[in-house]
């Protein structure tokens, strides 16, 4: 048997280092170390040997087994290293090809702007409401002190339905709805889509968005209005803004104002954006007309308030210097993706 073990050892020393690949290593492992492998055969034969030979043969067999195990691991490791060294070539992938894309959702810039303005208003204690797009004449006009045949209707070209309803021309009807369901003090804003029956161009849309703010309390002053708007606009434009008032006319406010902001592009030194005036006309506002309070069931001798209306699209356009309002509703993903920074719904 000793002779046989020596033979086996010679064979093993020839065969194992010569293994050419990992499957060959596995074959050799089975052949030498398996349940019916060569070494097992030797070990099984030991019992039949004379007692004095059992010890040396057993020892030799175990040494050979240990050697084979170590050698197989060594060869396997060498082969594996060689193979892994080649995956750079064998498994090369073109990294410049686009992969399977996940994500890529985006929130429309107007929705982002709306969300942002809502959050600012909420933080200032204003409730955020919305109302119907299809309005009745009372809420859109009459309760806002714009009776039939009033010339102020000219500035609000209206889409009408045959039954006398219309698409809301402003978010102001929400003021009336808010008064119908609340008692003063009231602080609400409404933001949403509004519609004007006008021809489209770079500065005019038939569908755009407005934020309407409305506050009713005791002794509300023009000073409160200016402070509130300055705060809101500073947040909207993410910088401290300077504002000024000019007299204006809206049927639902008395007195009424146009509010200008110091040009955000040139800071007032004069540029094409502000037509070299240093100021940009931004929004209409005023103290709520007593007739509007009355229409909302509020006693104007006890309560007063302010209201303002601001174009959401306009703020957005000013902030990003978007040149054409029609792009917002055009549904071009390449455009919308430029504003895909929204992380909130």
């Amino acid at each position: 048997v000793a002779h046989t073990i020596e033979e086996l050892e010679r064979t093993a020393r020839d065969e194992i280092p010569a293994a050419g690949d990992l499957p060959a290593v596995e074959d050799l492992r089975r052949r030498w170390l398996g349940k019916s492998g060569l070494l097992q055969e030797v070990l099984r034969g030991i019992g039949a040997l004379p007692a004095e030979k059992r010890g040396p043969v057993g020892k030799a067999a175990n040494e050979l087994k240990a050697w084979i195990e170590a050698e197989l691991l060594r060869v396997e490791s060498t082969l594996r290293t060689a193979q892994e060294g080649a995956i750079g070539d064998a498994e090369w992938v073109d990294a410049t090809l686009p992969g399977e894309r996940r994500g890529g959702g985006l929130v429309h810039p107007v929705a982002q702007m709306r969300r942002e303005l809502e959050d600012v208003c909420l933080s200032m204690g204003f409730e955020v409401l919305d109302g119907p797009w299809v309005e009745d004449e009372r809420h859109n006009f009459e309760a806002l002190n714009i009776p039939k045949d009033h010339p102020a209707r000219d500035s609000q070209d209206t889409f009408w339905f045959p039954d006398g309803r219309c698409l809301r021309t402003h978010t102001s009807p929400v003021q009336i709805r808010a008064m119908e369901t609340r008692t003063p003090p009231i602080r609400v804003v409404s933001i949403g889509r509004v519609f004007r029956n006008e021809a489209l161009d770079a500065g005019h849309e038939n569908t755009f968005h407005q934020i309407e703010g409305f506050l009713v309390d005791r002794d509300v002053t023009v000073g409160h209005l200016v402070h509130t708007l300055r705060t809101l606009l500073s947040e909207a434009f993410q910088r401290s803004v300077e504002v000024r008032l000019r007299p204006s006319f809206f049927p639902f406010t008395e007195p009424s104002f146009e509010m200008d902001v110091r040009c955000l592009v040139c800071s007032g030194t004069g540029c094409p954006v502000c037509k070299r005036t240093g100021w940009v006309e931004l929004l209409g506002c005023g103290l709520v007309h007593p007739a509007v309070l009355k229409a909302g069931g509020i006693d104007p001798s006890q309560w007063s308030g302010f209201a303002f209306g601001l174009g959401v699209d306009r703020v957005l356009m000013m902030r990003h210097r978007i040149e054409d309002i029609r792009r917002l509703m055009a549904g071009e993903l390449s455009f919308l993706r430029k504003f895909a920074t929204g992380v909130e719904g």
Partner: protein, 828 residues
């Protein structure tokens, strides 16, 4: 509206006032001046000069050699002139060397036939003042010498363009008089009304009875003033009148008409001149039109009138559409000798409606619809007469003034508490300051305890000013809003949140947009008939606009799917083909048949389009959108949603947006058990290939429409968290062969019911068709989890439960294909 600085200067002293500063002050005190334009500037350099001598030109018979004096002791200049009418002693327009004329030519010192000329004596065309070139312009000999011609001729002017929207509420500001009053108040100068002395004398001298005017519709006509003037001669207006009209943006017609327009611009009161010969029956009536009555206005178009129209008529016919436009037949012409002048106050609403109805928005109608001051009617008539007498010396007033004013407006007085001004403006104004500010614009009166009671001047009393708040505005604007001190509004602390609707919109946006990777788009809510047909909708069922912008946008959308398809088609060519295009829109859809309070429904729609797929045998795109909606509803807290096959003709409730775009074999309906029975929350489907092609969308597309109002109602406010079961569950896999169109949900339901409360969950995991399964059949595999709150299931109980599951499937008529229990092992 355009304002002439010159015209304003006649009523208020504007010397040493910079027009730019005046424009700024008006903008901040009265109404926005949008634009300031300087007229006559193109004639700079041309001055008035005296021709001292005219001598023959030594080298040319037709040329003269003139000696010209530009005044101021300057050296006399020698000028060659070819005009036949040049003569010594004339005052002329002289362009010295170096002047650039309006045609762009700069005069140089040049020799003309051997004689040097030091400038040019100008003809009308050379100064851009007209077309005449038959001689030089000869000025009034009294014209001062050496002043710019633009000034001497009254050519230089500054014109303010005022924003019409800023004066909608101020009838008095539709004429120069109103702005002159404002400037006087702002600059603290005196306002002087334009003179009417000659007119008053002429009218006072007239003896004949007033021309008869019958106002039969007193609601339509508050006041009617008429003058009859004989001996007029009509013709082109003199250059001064023409230039003034042009500065105001008005077109010269003839003297009689031009003077009415000039007075309208000055006074804000429209006038109309009739040729009295064309007024039959010796009287005019102000009456309602007879329905169907025909009328040809000055624009030569014949119109059919309605009873709401107010007309000026004689005994036979309509002479004018009151306040809007005169008639062609009774208009003054070149041969008019006797004029009937109308200066009236018509009802603003009637004029506005007529103007809109007949498409005639005129300068006159724009003013009448602002509610004019009846006191302005006689004043304007007198101004017109004053100007007429100045231009037509032979004109004679033929009768005393007609003035029909049956119910004069009562003077309006308002009591203003001083404190109201301070409380509204937030400014510490002194009582005296308030009184002074009000008086500066004509609100005068007497103090009462704590306030002042003022009379509203007639020109502010028709609509503009009626309540104390109106006076607060007067004080505020004249004091200057720049003095307002911003002050934080202080209010009790209250917790505010977005409304539930807004919260839901935010939540759905976060899921669909950011989690499920849809690009949010926003698009118009209207479309036209063609679009409806592409969708397979009956266009007649859509809510229609009465006055659409175009026939492509004349109906309100009934579903949001067409917008998603349209936008998908628009973007597919430029988006990568390898990635699915996912779009979503939050919008509202409209129904023509639903009651008004339910005619408008908030929805969110989403769409997945795969341009890279030719076909989709397993319906993966559709099933992906089903999953999107499932996730969306789960994530916003809607539980107990049932998903059913939409069927060949989806019959969800009539209140749901019409889903005519669905693939007949690939649609799903999401319902929720509401209080009033199951409600459809969402409809999902592959877009029918016909609809998809009609919209030009390539590949395969599937969409969903979700009713947000119903989602809101179905939304659970609390989590359904429960502590995990105390004893482990055991699972069991079973595959069953069913007909191809049997929904998995049906099999799932059978399994869920098979063993009462012992079934904890049923989860589908495999669909197999093909080898080993008969044609028209399919194999579905499920994992069923059993559990017991009383203890761990024993092998025996489990075996019994599995047996009940198999029995249930068999009883349903299906063949169980294989089963395997992983007894006792809770799933990983």
């Amino acid at each position: 509206m355009r304002l002439s600085w010159r015209l304003l200067s006649e009523m208020v002293d504007l010397r040493r006032v910079d027009p730019a500063e005046a424009a700024r002050l008006l903008t901040f005190r009265t109404a926005e001046v949008e634009h300031v334009e300087h007229l006559g500037g193109s004639l700079s350099g041309v001055v008035t000069a005296k021709v001292r001598a005219v001598d023959p030109h030594p080298g040319a018979d037709r040329l003269r050699l003139c000696t010209v004096d530009v005044g101021g002791g300057a050296q006399l200049l020698r000028v060659v002139c070819g005009a036949p009418n040049v003569a010594a002693g004339q005052t002329v327009c002289f362009a010295p060397v170096g002047t650039t004329l309006p045609n762009g030519v700069t005069l140089k010192k040049a020799k003309i036939r051997g004689v040097e000329s030091e400038g040019m004596i100008c003809a009308e065309d050379e100064m851009g003042l007209g077309t005449a070139h038959d001689g030089i312009v000869v000025l009034d000999p009294e014209t001062p010498v050496g002043v710019p011609v633009s000034e001497a001729l009254g050519l230089s002017d500054v014109v303010f363009d005022v924003a019409n929207s800023a004066i909608t509420s101020r009838p008095d500001l539709w004429g120069h008089v109103g702005f002159a009053r404002e400037l006087a108040a702002i600059l603290d100068r005196r306002f002087t009304a334009p003179p009417t002395d000659a007119a008053q004398r002429a009218v006072g001298a007239a003896g004949a009875d007033p021309f008869p005017v019958r106002v039969e519709d007193e609601a339509g006509c508050r006041r009617y003033v008429a003058l009859v003037v004989e001996g007029v001669a009509n013709g082109p207006s003199p250059a001064g009148v023409v230039r003034r009209l042009e500065a105001l943006g008005l077109r010269a017609v003839s003297l009689l008409v031009d003077l009415t327009n000039l007075v309208m611009a000055e006074q804000g009161q429209p006038l109309h001149a009739f040729d009295l010969r064309e007024v039959r029956g010796g009287a005019v009536r102000v009456r309602r039109a007879a329905a169907g009555e025909r009328f040809t206005a000055l624009d030569e178009k014949e119109r059919t009138l309605v009873a709401d129209d107010l007309v000026i008529a004689d005994e036979e016919r309509v002479l004018a559409l009151a306040g809007v436009m005169g008639g062609a037949a009774s208009a003054v012409g070149a041969d008019t000798t006797t004029v009937l002048l109308e200066s009236a106050t018509f009802d603003p609403g009637r004029v506005r409606r007529s103007a809109i109805r007949h498409g005639l928005r005129t300068d006159a109608s724009a003013r009448f619809e602002k509610s004019l001051d009846p006191a302005g009617a006689p004043a304007a008539a007198m101004r017109w007469l004053e100007l007429l007498l100045a231009h037509v010396p032979g004109a004679r007033v033929a009768a005393r003034t007609t003035d029909v004013y049956p119910r004069p407006l009562l003077p309006l007085a308002i009591e203003l508490p001083f404190d109201l001004v301070r409380r509204r403006l937030g400014l510490p104004l002194a009582d005296a300051e308030i009184v002074t500010r009000l008086a500066s614009v004509g609100f005068r009166g007497s103090e009462v305890p704590g306030g002042v009671r003022v009379r509203v001047p007639s020109w502010r009393a028709t609509k503009d000013v009626s309540i104390p708040e109106d006076l607060v505005e007067e004080v505020g604007r004249l004091h200057g809003y720049e003095h307002v001190v911003p002050e934080p509004h202080v209010a009790p602390m209250v917790a505010v949140r977005p409304s539930p609707e807004r919260s839901l919109e935010r939540a759905t946006r976060a899921v669909l947009g950011l989690d499920l990777a849809h690009a949010e788009v926003a698009h118009y809510a209207f479309h036209g008939e063609a679009e409806a047909q592409k969708l397979g909708l009956d266009p007649a069922t859509l809510l229609r606009l009465s006055n659409p912008l175009s026939s492509e946008q004349d109906r309100m959308q009934a579903t949001c799917v067409q917008n998603l398809l349209r936008i998908a088609a628009r973007n597919q060519p430029t988006e990568p083909r390898t990635a699915p295009l996912r779009l979503a829109e939050w919008t509202r859809v409209f129904s023509a048949s639903a009651p008004a309070d339910r005619a408008e429904v908030p929805v969110v729609g989403c769409l997945t389009a795969r341009a890279d797929l030719e076909s989709d045998p397993r319906g993966d795109v559709f099933r992906g959108v089903v999953e999107d909606v499932r996730v969306l509803l789960e994530r916003v807290g809607v539980r107990g949603v049932r998903v059913a096959d939409g069927g060949e003709a989806p019959r969800h409730d009539a209140q749901f947006p019409p889903a005519t775009w669905l693939h007949p074999g690939r649609s799903a309906v999401f319902t929720h058990a509401g209080d009033g029975g199951p409600q459809v929350l969402a409809v999902v489907g592959e877009v029918h290939p016909r609809v998809r092609r009609a919209f030009g969308v390539a590949g395969v597309a599937a969409a969903a429409e979700v009713r947000l109002d119903r989602v809101l109602a179905a939304r659970a406010s609390e989590s359904d968290y429960r502590a995990p079961p105390r004893f482990p569950e055991s699972t069991f896999d079973v595959a069953v062969v069913v007909p191809r169109k049997t929904p998995a949900a049906e099999v799932e339901a059978v399994l869920a019911r098979c063993a009462g409360g012992a079934v904890r969950s049923v989860r589908w995991f495999d669909l197999y068709e093909g080898k080993g399964i008969p044609a028209g059949q399919k194999s579905l595999a499920f994992t069923v989890a059993f559990g017991d709150e009383g203890g761990t299931l024993t092998g025996k109980t489990l075996e019994k439960l599995q047996g009940r599951a198999i029995d249930a499937l068999t009883r349903a008529g299906w063949k169980v294909r294989m089963e395997s229990g992983a007894a006792g092992e809770p799933p990983a």
